[in-house]
């Protein structure tokens, strides 16, 4: 789950990580009021879960109060990478002396948490990583090392970001607090870009991005509430509530599969034979016929659907349960498109027997099913 900058900064403040004050608002009028209280100059930032905010015109520094309302209005009307901007954050503009990059994240390849730093902070950081990879510093930590930080290691790392002794010291302290925040919130990433020194030489987190582990939200109800529903796809949320994983795509062949890997392989195979998948849908490893009904409802919401492929390789999932769900769906839903079904694995005989006498088109292999559904769905 992603947090907005103002949400992440609130957590920063609670944990003693220095960042400028800010306020997030929904309207241009409120933005003006906040700017009047803060005093000029201010920065106005779009609160949206996508990168490239600055390049899309979602970040403006203003010194004239007369520009605030119109600028806030413009930003609130933006869509950045297809997401609407519902809130803007207002903060006092800071005099930047130097800017560096600092983040902490999980690193699957080394089984560790790593700090990443670069003396050249800012929006060109990815370019720097490509052209001068030696400039990107990494510090690997176990969870034990995060809980018991080693000042010497952190100091060595921080000395590569700043030259001044007090800046290095402040960065070390900030890294410790970031490490602790990472653990206590079950984060998967915290990024500060840029981390700056102001005209007084103080180290300040000017930006904040945070991602939290969805699997751990059950033990952080207060953080789960921070989810921005406007940034989420309603169908995908409904699906996850019903125990399904669902992502809508732009094709016309609906898919229902058990298991994420097989679901992706099924989409790939449909494409391979000339069809165009309309969704990713994993019914999961359970045997609940009701899930099949819910899955059908989600697929059929899309008016572009011209055919559906059901691909089930029963393990924990039982084919007879899937067949029962399918019969129930056909009874209560109007399914106006042809359905190709491939049903193998646990209880496949029982499952197939239940489906005798229906209009379903059967296939014995995934390739056969994909070929049939691509033909029925019309190639695109």
């Amino acid at each position: 789950m992603k947090l907005h900058e103002y949400q992440a900064k609130a957590l920063f403040r609670e944990n003693g990580i220095l960042c400028p004050p800010d306020k997030a608002v929904d309207t241009a009028e409120e933005a003006l009021q906040v700017a009047e209280e803060m005093g000029m100059p201010v920065v106005i930032k779009a609160m949206v879960h996508s990168g490239g905010r600055g390049k899309a015109g979602g970040v403006k520094v203003l010194s004239d109060i007369s520009e605030v309302k119109e600028t806030a209005e413009n930003i609130l009307q933006l869509r950045i990478q297809d997401l609407p901007v519902r809130k803007v954050m207002i903060a006092p503009a800071v005099n930047i002396e130097t800017e560096v990059y600092l983040s902490i994240l999980l690193d699957r390849s080394t089984h560790s948490v790593i700090y990443v730093g670069c003396k050249d902070g800012g929006v060109e950081i990815e370019e720097t990583a490509k052209t001068n990879p030696e400039k990107i510093l990494k510090l690997q930590c176990s969870t034990v090392q995060l809980k018991n930080p080693d000042d010497a290691r952190l100091t060595e790392f921080a000395s590569n970001l700043f030259d001044g002794e007090s800046q290095v010291h402040e960065t070390v302290e900030m890294m410790k607090k970031l490490g602790a925040l990472f653990l206590t919130t079950d984060a998967s990433m915290i990024e500060i870009n840029p981390l700056i020194t102001d005209d007084k030489g103080t180290v300040i987190a000017l930006d904040a991005k945070m991602m939290l582990d969805d699997n751990a939200l059950f033990r952080h109800p207060e953080l789960a509430e921070l989810r921005d529903m406007d940034s989420e796809d309603q169908d995908e949320l409904d699906a996850s509530e019903k125990g399904l994983a669902f992502i809508r795509l732009d094709g016309n062949v609906g898919c229902m599969v058990n298991g994420a890997g097989l679901a992706m392989a099924t989409m790939d195979t449909i494409k391979h034979f000339g069809g165009n998948p309309a969704n990713f849908l994993d019914v999961g490893g359970s045997s609940n016929p009701q899930k099949v009904v819910e899955a059908f409802k989600l697929i059929l919401k899309d008016p572009n659907i011209t055919a559906i492929l059901i691909n089930i390789f029963g393990g924990i999932t039982r084919c007879d349960d899937i067949a029962n769900g399918l019969l129930e769906s056909l009874k209560i839903l109007d399914v106006p498109v042809p359905i190709v079904i491939r049903l193998v694995g646990t209880n496949e005989e029982e499952g197939r027997a239940l489906l005798v006498g229906t209009d379903l088109i059967t296939a014995h292999t995934l390739e056969e099913g994909a070929t049939k559904v691509a033909e029925l769905g019309g190639k695109s």
């Binding site: 992603k2 996508s50 990879p133 890997g261 097989l262 392989a265 990713f280 995934l366």
Partner: protein, 290 residues
Amino acid sequence: MSILVNKDTKIIVQGITGRDGSFHTKQMLDYGSQIVGGVTPGKGGQTTADGLPVFNTCQEAIEATGADTSIMYVPAPFAKAAMLGAANSDIKLMIAITEGVPTLDALEAYEALSAKGIRLIGPNCPGIITPEECKIGIMPANIHKKGRIGVISRSGTLTYEIVDQLTKAGLGESTCVGIGGDPIIGSKFVDLLPLFEEDPDTDAIVIAGEIGGQDEVIAAEYFKNHMKKPVIGFMAGLTAPKGKRMGHAGAIVGGEDDTAAAKIKKLEAAGIPVASVISDVVPLVESKLN
């Protein structure tokens, strides 16, 4: 021979009294796996419906039964405690089936297990099977057949699909390992390939990967530099939409393209042929064996 597990493997089930744990214990026993007991804290001293003794801790279970392997079915919120319990015992191999384990819990448990030299498979995986000898997991038994092809996969049902075709083609499998799809997993492709390379009963290895991370690419590097046996690949997710990224951290660290297309390119460049549809896996294996 085989890798990791065989007919002599003695297994304890963590979470044996739970719904999934008890169901799959029966299935594993029916397959002939040597399940010798279970662990459920607070239920030590009881006996399961299958007549197996239940212990409070892994170490008690090991001392009483001589088990060397543990399989875990406990629900995600309790998985860390169970994994640390295994780390506190003399177990050699732990297989974590549980789905939805918080990533930092998995990381902490991994650290504790590896400090003790215990190999972890999973979490969020279907388990391991050496056909006709030992099944430790949730995979459907009847699709497997003893043979000479090793399988390593990040996805459950995708593995079944590949195994089914290997079996129907008469090739069969030496050992199949589901390594799991979570961000932090105990053993990766590169950790298991050396075991298959050394296993006299494996002639070729199929690796089934998917989008995300660089595990397949690291495996391809290893293959190129260290392996003589053929490896055949399958990669799911060519049509998967690119996740909406946030921040630069992932891109800077990974530094590499983690799409299916990018991985297929790198595998093929390293000499691992990649099947474009699942039904091409068997012909590719056969062509490499000849």
